[in-house]
């Protein structure tokens, strides 16, 4: 580990021992076992005679380890991760909030975890009841008319929502050709439009970082299927002319799609259904506290207005005349299925537990605290960092590295240096409408004390950028590993472990790929 070079004294962190741990394959040795099966209570079989030519004889480098080694392996690996449980994740538009533990407990109750998606409806009333109550809550929160819980993540929700828009237009006789997407949008928006067979038309933001109304008016025509709008936008600003935006689209028969990534700024304070949105997705793994788990699972319910209801993915949960719940597959205009079964059900359980823990007062207070936190950070740091858009922030604030870049210190460097001070980096270089963006979303889960630690750390880093820029540009200094060579990783991909021919352990590089250079 290289020598730590703090300018000030970091309040949050000190260095500690970090254990090394090889890959599990390098620790494996023949004959070790981490399992014991139950006694077989039926006659044993000869696999080779049952399967003939289809029988497998070798499982290659699959590991052989005992239970204690497995526990230590994963426990040691876990200590190399940053996590919400260790501190703040100021990642913008990611809404890294606290993941309540009671949610984990209830999702593991036997009748819930062991429920098979094909068990009879009469024996699934609990599962359907969870889906029904969650749906009702999310409809009320968004102000929309109806919902599907089937999409597995936010981008999958976008896919579903745009397919709903497409089916709606097709039912009117013309699927239309293009989707408008602001230049501040998340990359999944244009990627989704493409997967749904639409062209992407880029909509430039105005000087306030908001939708340019005049430009929108020019661009919306009879070929426009929808505008995909993130509100509040990725710079954390509410589109205050949202009603005009909706009117312009609706006048030409186009729909307003809202990317709900930033819904944590709105819950209980305003409702997309009330301000003209036709269809939107929610990220249960952002706004509704289901754990991010190192990148997933998510869940991306899509709420919409009545006009889109006939097209919802099937099945939908319905209440029968006798009051019991059922799955309705008889949906002739449905866009079809977007996923097998009914969605990431385990996430529905957690999201509903979160809603119950909060109630209407808790959800409103949550939103208010999230916005309070972002504005507190903004107030404390706007003298230190450049703020391109001065419009009032909601749940996140986007600074830029403009002042520090003069000394060669970029947003990515300061993000890495933040790691030395015990924080995860903020979102680096996004949104693209802000050159050198430093996008910060604290969420409601941070105490004033933790916010002050972050503010303190960012001020120290700004001072370092003036007095000792190299300490920032070569950071992090306190982590187990220093900056990783991502270029070589992409040019000579090593994507799995392989034993070397002489029996010693080594990873195996694929053939160098020159194509990577063009990217």
């Amino acid at each position: 580990m290289s020598e730590t070079k703090f300018v000030g004294t970091p309040k949050k962190v000190t260095t500690h021992v970090n254990q090394n741990e090889d890959l599990m394959f390098e620790k494996s040795s023949p004959g070790k076992k981490g399992y014991r099966l139950a006694e077989l209570d039926v006659p044993a079989v000869d696999a080779a005679s049952l399967l003939g030519g289809s029988v497998r004889t070798d499982l290659g480098v699959m590991p052989e380890l005992s239970e204690i080694e497995i526990v230590r392996h994963f426990t040691r690996l876990s200590t190399w991760n940053y996590a919400i449980d260790l501190g703040m994740y100021p990642l913008g538009s990611c809404t890294m909030k606290y993941n309540p533990r009671v949610n984990e407990l209830v999702s593991r109750l036997e009748g819930i975890a062991e429920a098979h998606p094909y068990q009879p409806e009469s024996l699934s009333q609990g599962a359907l009841g969870i889906m029904k109550l969650l749906s009702d809550c999310l409809i009320e929160i968004t102000g929309m008319d109806t919902i599907t819980l089937q999409p597995a993540a936010g981008a999958h929700g976008e896919f579903t929502g745009i397919l709903l828009a497409r089916a709606y237009h097709e039912a009117q006789g013309n699927a239309r050709k293009k989707i408008l997407i602001p230049d501040s949008a998340h990359g999944t928006n244009p990627a989704t439009a493409a997967v749904c067979g639409y062209q992407v038309a880029n909509l430039k933001s105005n000087a306030q970082g908001m939708v340019d109304i005049a430009e929108l008016e020019r661009m919306v025509d009879e070929d426009t299927a929808a505008l995909m709008l993130t509100n509040p936008s990725t710079i954390g600003v509410f589109e205050s002319e949202i009603h005009k935006i909706a009117d312009i689209l609706h006048a030409k028969g186009a729909l307003l799609y809202m990317d709900g990534a930033n819904m944590n700024a709105l819950v209980g304070k305003t409702r997309p259904g009330d301000f003209g949105v036709d269809v939107m997705h929610l990220n249960l793994h952002k706004t509704f506290s289901t754990p991010h788990g190192g990148g997933g699972p998510g869940s991306g319910p899509v709420a919409c207005k009545k006009i889109l209801e006939p097209f919802l993915p099937k099945p939908v949960v319905v209440t029968k005349a006798d009051g019991t719940l059922a799955l309705d597959y008889d949906r002739p205009q449905s866009i079809g299925r977007v996923r097998a079964f009914y969605g990431n059900f385990g996430m529905f359980v957690r999201a509903l537990a979160y809603i119950l823990a909060n109630g209407p007062d808790g959800l409103r207070q949550t939103t208010e605290d999230a916005v309070l936190n972002a504005n507190y950070i903004r107030a404390k740091l706007e003298d230190t960092f450049d703020l391109q858009y001065k419009t009032r922030s909601l749940h996140e604030v986007v600074f830029s590295d403009k002042r520090q870049a003069k000394n060669g210190v970029k947003t990515g460097d300061m993000g890495k240096r933040l790691i030395d001070y015990g924080f995860h980096a903020y979102t680096v270089s996004f949104p693209m409408v802000v050159q050198g963006a430093m996008m910060i979303e604290p969420t409601e889960s941070e105490s004033r004390e933790e916010l002050d630690l972050l503010i303190d750390a960012l001020k120290q880093i700004a001072r370092e950028a003036e007095e000792n820029p190299e300490v920032v540009t070569t950071s992090p200094h306190t982590t187990r590993l220093r900056r990783l060579d991502e270029t070589t990783a992409a040019r000579k991909p090593i994507l799995r472990w392989k034993p070397t021919p002489n029996g010693t352990a080594d990873s195996s590089a694929l053939t160098p790929d020159t194509a990577a250079k063009e990217w």
Binding site: L23, M24, F25, G34, V42, A47, L50, S54, L59, G60, P63, V71, N81, Y82, D85, L86, V102, E104, R108, A115, S124, Q125, G126, G129, C137, E140, A152, A153, A155, H156, H186, T188, H243, R271, H292, G293, G294, G296, P297, S299, V338, F341, Y342, F345, G346, L356, A357, Q365, T366, A379, H424, S447, E450, L481, L484, E486, A489, I494, L495, L510
Partner: protein, 441 residues
């Protein structure tokens, strides 16, 4: 509200520091007419014990205490205790996508281990770090084959999970990928002659499932031959990953789309599960989803990073290989622990136990019913013709606290109303099988 770490005084002082007099000033950019003034009409705030009580009530309204013979893409296997031990660690549970590799090495190394084991199990050269599930993974694999071959059609076996086929149809329609279906022979396997006839010069790929929806193991080599002779890729979908412990991996395939739910993931009424795409190395640039790669840090130490991200939406936007962003990372972590616990010997032993249970179940239940598709090897599922209406038979079984096999007429009307799909795993006991056979007499 117990999740909110602020005192009333904190809030007041922070508002003063910001320079506003009330919290509503911070929401002033929302036009007045859209400000929501009433309470949301949702259940009131619950105490922790009330939440648990409420979900216990829900849990009790679901089937508990039943013997179940359901499989059909969601399998009940024993889940070693270590899985929850590991994924309950906040460092894994509450971490973000590992975009900052210096503080994400735990997740990244485990994902690299996951990719390695998936390659080893499927016989493929590379694997990604997960997809949403087996159904969307299969759809993405087809889109990948279309990009690789420059052709635009897909031939799909009727023995692929019917819900997977529905998902593929949803994805394919707007990509303008024409889909053709190919039926099954008397053996329950893909009809090879019909397959040969269905592939044309425009066929990008053939998609099969093995073991297929009926539990039958396909002749992957023969199907690969037919596909490859006509320049099409072969995609093999695997819904029951445990089969890979004893069934030869589909090495002849070009792309494998695996649903890894069986590796220690609860049925959970259908999700979250763990899809993954594995393929030949030469298709790397067309692979969707996140991939972890090995590299070195500035001091030359081994480390891992998310790599080849120029395929992905956050770099390429509308030109990305897929719109996927969030994947199923924590579920992939669960499968990684499962595979480590069972390991090289255990995966085989476990798969063989499944074979044994299914053999006993088919033999025993087959005494009062006809086992269909006897002409080909199978793993742990089989189709029974009960000789009477399968729905009615299941209703009668419920009285004995038994959930029978899945009636098939909804998706396979050609099999008649009496056919159902049965599954036995290592958790199915002899007593349960005997009781079901007795009840069906």
């Amino acid at each position: 509200m117990r999740y909110l770490p602020k005192s009333p005084a904190d809030r007041k002082e922070m508002l003063a520091e910001i320079g506003v007099s009330s919290i509503d000033d911070l929401f002033a950019t929302i036009p007045e007419e859209y400000q929501f003034k009433r309470d949301l009409a949702i259940p009131r705030q619950h105490g922790e014990s009330e939440i648990i009580d409420r979900f216990r009530e829900y849990a009790n309204q679901n089937a508990t205490g039943y013997a179940s013979f359901l499989g059909a893409g969601v399998y009940r296997h024993y889940r070693p205790v270590l899985i929850d031990t590991v994924v309950s660690r906040g460092e894994f549970l509450t971490s973000y996508t590992p975009y900052q590799p210096e503080i994400s090495q735990g997740t990244l190394q485990a994902m690299f281990e996951f990719q390695t084991m998936i390659c080893e199990l499927t016989g493929m050269e590379i694997a990604n770090a997960s997809m949403y599930d087996g159904s969307t993974g299969a759809a993405e694999a087809i889109m990948m084959a279309v990009r690789v071959t420059g052709r635009d059609g897909a031939v799909i076996a009727r023995t692929v999970h019917p819900e997977y086929r529905e998902v593929i149809a949803t994805y394919a329609q707007h990509q303008e990928i024409p889909l053709a279906e190919v039926g099954y022979a008397e053996s329950g396997r893909v009809d090879l002659a019909a397959l040969d006839a269905a592939i044309n010069d425009n066929t990008a790929c053939v998609l099969i499932q093995s073991p297929n929806f009926f539990g039958t193991i396909e002749d992957v080599a023969a199907i690969a031959d037919i596909a490859h002779k006509k320049g099409a890729l072969l995609i093999v979908s695997i819904a029951e990953a445990i089969s890979l412990g004893i069934v030869k991996p589909p090495v002849e395939a070009d792309i494998v789309s695996l649903e890894a739910q069986s590796f220690g993931v609860a049925p959970s009424y259908g999700g979250p599960f763990c899809g993954v795409i594995a393929c030949k190395e030469k298709f790397l640039r067309q692979m969707p989803g996140r991939i972890v790669g090995e590299t070195k840090d500035a001091d030359g130490k081994r480390g891992f990073v998310l790599t080849l991200s120029t395929r992905e939406q956050h770099i390429r936007r509308e030109k990305a290989t897929s719109n996927i962003c969030t994947n199923q990372a924590l579920v992939a972590m669960m499968t990684t622990v499962f595979l480590t616990v069972y390991g090289k010997e255990g995966m085989k032993d476990l798969a063989v136990q499944n074979l044994a249970k299914a053999k006993y179940a088919a033999d025993t239940l087959g005494k009062g019913a006809k086992v269909l598709f006897e002409g080909a090897p199978r793993f742990h599922e089989f189709v029974l013709d009960l000789g009477r209406d399968a729905e009615a038979a299941n209703t009668a079984l419920l009285e004995k606290k038994i959930i029978g096999g899945l009636p098939l007429s909804k998706w396979y009307p050609e099999l008649g109303p009496n056919a159902s799909l049965w599954c036995a795993t290592e958790l199915t006991t002899k007593a349960q099988i005997d009781a079901a056979a007795e009840a069906l007499k």
